[in-house]
């Protein structure tokens, strides 16, 4: 089982711990990941907002790279997952657009054929690696831990494009979390947006949304949050400092990328997982699971 690994641009530049932990975990699980060297940004919603066509062309370019390698493309960022999936669907279904876009790609010496699929790494873990295999690799029980799973938006919606999980009551991440024997707690407005995309547009609204999220999670007496998207991570990790500043509320809720949590359960050294790079200290959690 192998995949073309698509990091996008935020993770490698801003959240190396996500990349490191993911590589580590997948190595342990024996999944080959082929890096797409010539890949560029997925051309996310800010770009799509300004010019749909440009964003579509850039996405098509990235997809064509995977097509060349002839393997499905695996994303680890909700933004990339949604943008690439949407582009892939549009181009597969809309012939006129496909010809348009291919005219553009021709100029950079590429062609979109529509031969690969876009999958999210959670799907890979849940459907291909399978929970059983993951369990085999787990050496440390996190059963003392109460974890708040946060899916973010673009892995769930629009479900008609992504069909990743039940968009209103998702469970895949919860399942994956509970493989570590940690308790995945329920909290209100679980599938609501973190506000990441409003950063820079209205920081005030962005942190209001982050705050609501933190508020609901803290009500559930969770020890930490697990995210699967670099933007959500920023909103809830770094975001907590902003929330403290604006609303003078301190939550001190450690935030993990899922592979980091899984890594801990697999007995990987927290150092290697890069937990130190988090803005909210993960010490409390590490203590609890000792």
């Amino acid at each position: 089982m192998n995949y073309a690994l698509f990091f996008g641009c935020v993770i490698p530049t801003r959240e190396p711990s996500y990349e490191a932990s993911l590589r580590a975990v997948f190595k342990e699980l024996g999944v080959d990941l082929i890096d797409l060297d010539k890949a560029t940004c997925c051309a996310p919603i800010p770009i799509e907002s300004l010019d749909f066509k440009t964003s579509l062309a850039i996405a098509a370019y990235n997809l064509s790279l995977a097509e060349e390698a002839n393997i499905n493309i695996m994303t680890i960022c909700n933004g990339c997952f949604q943008v690439l999936s949407k582009a892939n669907k549009t181009l597969k279904e809309n012939e006129t657009l496909r010809t348009d876009i291919n005219k553009i790609l021709a100029e950079v010496g590429r062609e979109y054929k529509g031969t690969v699929d876009v999958v999210d790494y959670l799907q890979v873990l849940h459907n291909d690696v399978t929970p059983e295999r993951i369990k085999e690799n787990i050496s440390k029980s996190l059963n003392k831990l109460r974890v708040a799973a946060f899916y973010g938006c673009h892995v769930l919606r629009p479900s008609s494009v992504l069909n990743f999980d039940n968009p209103e009551h998702p469970h895949i991440l919860d399942d994956l979390i509970e493989l570590t024997e940690a308790k995945s707690v329920q909290y209100m407005h679980k599938t609501k947006c973190c506000g990441g995309l409003l950063r820079g547009i209205s920081d005030d609204l962005a942190s209001k949304l982050a705050r609501n999220k933190l508020f609901n999670i803290s009500n559930s007496k969770a020890d930490c949050i697990v995210t699967v998207c670099p933007f959500c991570f920023l909103q809830l990790d770094v975001g907590q400092l902003d929330v403290r500043r604006r609303f003078n509320e301190t939550y001190n809720l450690p935030v993990f990328h899922y592979p980091e949590l899984l890594g801990l359960a697999m007995g990987i050294d927290p150092e290697k997982l890069g937990l130190k790079t988090h803005r909210i200290s993960t010490e409390s959690v590490l203590k609890k699971i000792e």
Partner: protein, 181 residues
């Protein structure tokens, strides 16, 4: 009535409306189903942004688009406040692709010279670096400390070329000019 921050006239006269605006949107990918909206409000009801501010009301923006209130909508901040969480799109009983429709409206707005600074900057950075975030020393140091290879620059040339063909580069220039005004 709790309204969006879109400033529209107290009385709307058909002579001052642009009935073609709606059609223009339906021609744009994502906007095709605009006409199907029957104003049930299920978009606004579940909207996380609408919950915390009165400045953004998807149903009302759609209504204005349908009525042909063009300039007010395109020049407003409101249309940029959608967090693109796609909850509305998930819920719409008429399958109007509301989140995508907002993107369509933004595209039209951009062509008319309206766009938030942040987006323009990100776009420019993408054109120049092939990535939105810039690589800093800190980045590289962190990566090496985690045993990750240093980041090689992304193929900016590709992006630049595409942007040139689609007219995206020029559009960004234009928007930067507008911003200066």
């Amino acid at each position: 009535m709790a309204n969006t921050d879109i400033k529209i006239k107290e009385t709307l006269r058909s002579s001052e409306l642009e009935p073609n605006f709606a059609e223009e949107i339906t021609k744009h990918p994502g906007g095709e189903k605009l006409y199907l909206c029957y104003q049930c409000g299920s978009c606004a009801g579940g909207c996380p942004v609408g919950k915390i501010t009165n400045s953004y009301k998807p149903r009302q923006i759609i209504r204005m688009a349908l009525l042909g209130i063009k300039n007010e909508v395109l020049s407003s901040d409101s249309i940029w406040l959608c967090a693109s969480c796609y909850t509305c799109q998930e819920r719409c009983p008429q399958e109007v692709e509301i989140a995508d429709l907002m993107l369509a409206i933004r595209n039209i707005a951009a062509k008319e010279g309206h766009a938030p600074k942040a987006f323009v900057e990100q776009a420019t950075s993408l054109i120049e670096n092939g990535r939105i975030p810039k690589i800093t020393g800190l980045t590289q140091r962190r990566r090496t400390s985690l045993g990750l290879p240093e980041l090689s620059p992304a193929p900016a040339d590709v992006v630049k070329k595409i942007a040139a063909i689609t007219g995206f580069e020029q559009l960004m220039e234009k928007l930067k000019e507008e911003a200066k005004k």
